[in-house]
Symmetry: C2
Amino acid sequence: MAETDRATRSRLTRGGILRAAIALADERGLDGLTMRALADGLGVEAMSIYHHLPNKDAILDGAIEEVFAEIAAETLASAPAVPNGAAVTPAPAWDAAVGARILAARRVLLRHPWVPWVLNARGAPGPNAARHVDGIVAAMHDGGLAYDLIHHALHALGSRVYGYVQELSDDGGELPAGALEQLAMVAPNLAAMLAEVVHDDPDSTLGWCDDQTEFEFGLDLLLDGLVRRAADPSLPPVE
Amino acid sequence: MAETDRATRSRLTRGGILRAAIALADERGLDGLTMRALADGLGVEAMSIYHHLPNKDAILDGAIEEVFAEIAAETLASAPAVPNGAAVTPAPAWDAAVGARILAARRVLLRHPWVPWVLNARGAPGPNAARHVDGIVAAMHDGGLAYDLIHHALHALGSRVYGYVQELSDDGGELPAGALEQLAMVAPNLAAMLAEVVHDDPDSTLGWCDDQTEFEFGLDLLLDGLVRRAADPSLPPVE
DNA sequence: CGTGCTTGCCTTACGGCGTAAGTCTTACGT
DNA sequence: ACGTAAGACTTACGCCGTAAGGCAAGCACG
């Protein structure tokens, strides 16, 4: 109701701005997404946008969240569909389940090629992004993987799917105080994994992600796989 | 001699500018690398730089090439050192050799975290970059891998090491006419691989890199490796 | 029925970016 | 000694994100 009320006098909405921003970036690339061009497309002056979003970074963050909503829809659409709330389903292999989720994400990202750039440039992901990762963590956990291995897996897969430019950062994170509790609301599996991984680290609290270790883990994964495929060319996906 | 001659009247050199640009980007990040700041550090006005390099992209390209020279030095330094031009050396496993090259590259990139961004944003690599890849191709080829598999491997490793934001591009390349001959001069193994891979493609000339195929190949590599490590936790690198 | 406040958009302006165009200075070759 | 050209400087343009404030429309309230 408030929505319709406002619509009579304000044609600008947070959601509308974000949708326009996504369309603009899709069409003209990230460089083409400027405040002035965005406002132009909305039939408005640039500064008017600032009454709905505080700055350009907020637009980028919001657009990313919108895209993760799209990924969630795509993931759901490509799921095998369990109509009733059945108890024990056939349970596909965890790797197939994870692969399906990642391929769904990729299908969406192909429509928004600028997303990995923004993802790389900016820090904390929003709730939709957390939910997406949470689904992957859940699928792996259901498959019996230990949180420790899941953690490594996320690093290895992250750089491939979302284009994480690699963890060339050293920082490690040191997530703020109440963050874990808040994360648990929206992404319980991810939060559980983080809690365990952080706890296991003897140095605790700081530097809980050793970038070098993660890098070498992913590298070994790839090299091992290549060795096996070189030894036995009949292995699945050498096409 | 010309170098010293010029030095008396021109303190600015192409090489000096590139080195200053690298230092500035290392110190203040890619955003801190502006023409004005760069000129300032060189004790000069911004526009003076344009007498030695045509534009900022040329500076970035040149800096990247300089970094790949650094990678070459690091790779050489970390090599097991074959003093005399011996014929048949013990020949380490190809995956160890490739791993060593990639880790050497990473060591250098950690000193220049902005490099993957530039690498992602810009197109054709220079000769030093080509030589680096050529070394990896050579190591794999010596290990008996088929060019086809090597090609897939490069895609899979590229996104991890150099942060290729993934091949979210669709374009495929269609390398220009004389490019292959020119590439053969500096990177014969890479050129040989390209020649064969391009030739094998029934559609030839255009779209010789199927991004979806490459993506799924790399994804399967990772998932397979994770499955194996989940099944047998004693496998090497789960730390 | 005013009247004043809030909301939403617009106008203007600032500092910083890459760089096009033109000017001055300097040191060399003759 | 002097013309010349290379190399640095000056100025200026059109972009960018956004700070500061103006102005009109609709609502709450006397």
